[in-house]
């Protein structure tokens, strides 16, 4: 039987409602970046807080709450996806930093739906690191903790992920421009 206490499993000084208030938005946005589905992102967010309510009391270091929540959501996502594919780990030195030419103005023409649609087309292994890179002011060490991979791996995944994302956005921009010119 799971343990649920009055504070919702929170260590002393942290009540459940405060935690929800503070983190549910960013957790949902992270979940939505991964799933592209409102329903799935809601489920992941709710499940994360449910697990917190039942197991959060085991966390002794209060400063790790945010990382714990994001790690839990990511684990639940992976569990849900049950993807068995093994991904190669790249060393940082192998990463090519050449990013495609895309202007901020082009990105400002897009809404978040366009950007997330492009993210969904990025290799899956890069999606979570890229989402955390853009969503939260996490340090790379914290992103590595959330994703439970070495820091070098996180950096290489972010570099490759943002390169893929920007390439997709640039090519969709070029396609839009071509369509516009053909109409004219």
């Amino acid at each position: 039987m799971s343990h649920i206490d009055e504070r919702g499993g929170a260590p002393a000084g942290l009540d459940f409602e405060t935690l929800v208030e503070r983190y549910y938005r960013s957790l949902y946005q992270f979940g939505f970046s991964l799933t592209q589905s409102e329903s799935d992102a809601c489920d992941l967010t709710q499940q994360t807080f449910y697990i917190w309510a039942t197991k959060g009391h085991q966390l002794r270091d209060v400063s790790k709450v945010k990382t714990w929540l994001f790690t839990t959501l990511h684990r639940e996502f992976l569990e849900h996806r049950r993807k068995q594919t093994r991904f190669p780990h790249y060393e940082l030195s192998q990463v090519n930093c050449e990013l495609p030419q895309i202007s901020p103005a082009r990105i400002n023409q897009l809404d978040s739906g366009h950007v997330l649609h492009a993210l969904a087309r990025v290799d899956q292994v890069y999606q979570a690191p890229v989402a955390l890179f853009y969503l939260e002011e996490y340090s790379y060490k914290e992103i590595a903790e959330v994703l439970e991979v070495p820091m070098g791996t996180v950096k290489s995944r972010i570099a490759r992920g943002i390169a893929q994302l920007q390439k997709l956005l640039a090519s969709s921009g070029a396609a839009d421009q071509a369509r516009k010119e053909s109409r004219e």
């Binding site: 949902y28 309510a53 930093c97 990013l99 901020p104 366009h114 950007v115 969503l135």
Partner: protein, 254 residues
């Protein structure tokens, strides 16, 4: 450090974050101030980064999600046994409780009914959290049935005669534990919000998927927040009908 090496470092640089004080970036940032090409490259990268960051942070969060999380927790606390919240008392009788739990866990071990409650709860959640998004909006019940069948969702369901008198509004295909669930939406005529006409939702799933599904003729009524529900099985299907109202309201359509 040359310009190319600086770029390999600065590709990770996020202005306004902890990166600004990270010594790893210091040398590359210093070089960007003396190398005009590198400086322009960095400014472009920062502008693109900030534009993308804004797009991510604009992801809308569904209204009511926070309230749903908080209300679920309250429900769990309300159902938690009082002893569970009194660890000190438990400690004094731990041996006895251990034996008791061993005995009761044998006789009351998880059974098929757990799955039914979870299915019903999850379906109700979908409609309580926010007005559900439909894959097809139509009042043509035949078209709804064909749409569902074409998408490999349960389409050969039987609608209770009383419910069939309500107007169809559309349908959606959901998933529960990887299995398709047909959600057929109706308007009872008692709903006053024209923008959200559905107030009755019929969920249909393969009977074998839901452990503990009711036997034929043994419908179960349950109230989940503001939603009245009735669950029954017929043929090879299990049905949950939910509506915004109490048991009396839902009985009118069953």
């Amino acid at each position: 450090m040359n310009s190319q090496e600086a770029k390999e470092i600065l590709v990770f640089y996020r202005p306004g974050s902890a990166d600004e004080h990270d010594p790893e970036f210091a040398e590359a940032l210093a070089l960007s101030k003396s190398d005009a090409d590198l400086g322009r490259w960095l400014q472009d990268q920062i502008a693109v980064h900030q534009a993308l960051r804004s797009r991510f942070q604009e992801i809308p969060v569904p209204p009511g999600l926070k309230e749903q999380i908080l209300s679920e927790r309250k429900a769990h606390i309300a159902t938690a046994p009082r002893l569970q919240r009194r660890a000190v008392l438990l400690a004094t009788v731990v041996a006895g409780v251990f034996v008791l739990l061993a005995v009761t866990s044998f006789y009351f071990r998880p059974h098929k009914g757990d799955s039914l409650a979870e299915f019903r709860g999850r379906m109700a959640e979908i409609t309580l959290r926010a007005y559900p998004k439909m894959d097809l909006e139509t009042n043509d019940l035949t078209q709804i049935r064909q749409f569902l069948a074409n998408k490999q969702a349960p389409g050969d369901y039987v609608v209770p005669p009383a419910l069939a008198k309500a107007s169809g509004t559309g349908c959606a295909i959901l998933k529960w534990r990887g299995h398709p669930v047909s959600m057929i939406c109706f308007n009872s005529g008692k709903n006053t919000d024209p923008s959200e006409p559905s107030d009755l939702f019929l969920f249909v799933i393969d009977r074998t998927v839901v452990a503990g599904a009711p036997e034929a003729g043994a419908a179960q009524f349950a109230q989940l927040n503001r939603m009245g529900t009735v669950t029954w099985s017929a043929g090879d299907k299990t049905y949950v009908l939910g509506g915004y109202g109490n048991e009396a309201f839902i009985r009118q359509y069953f």
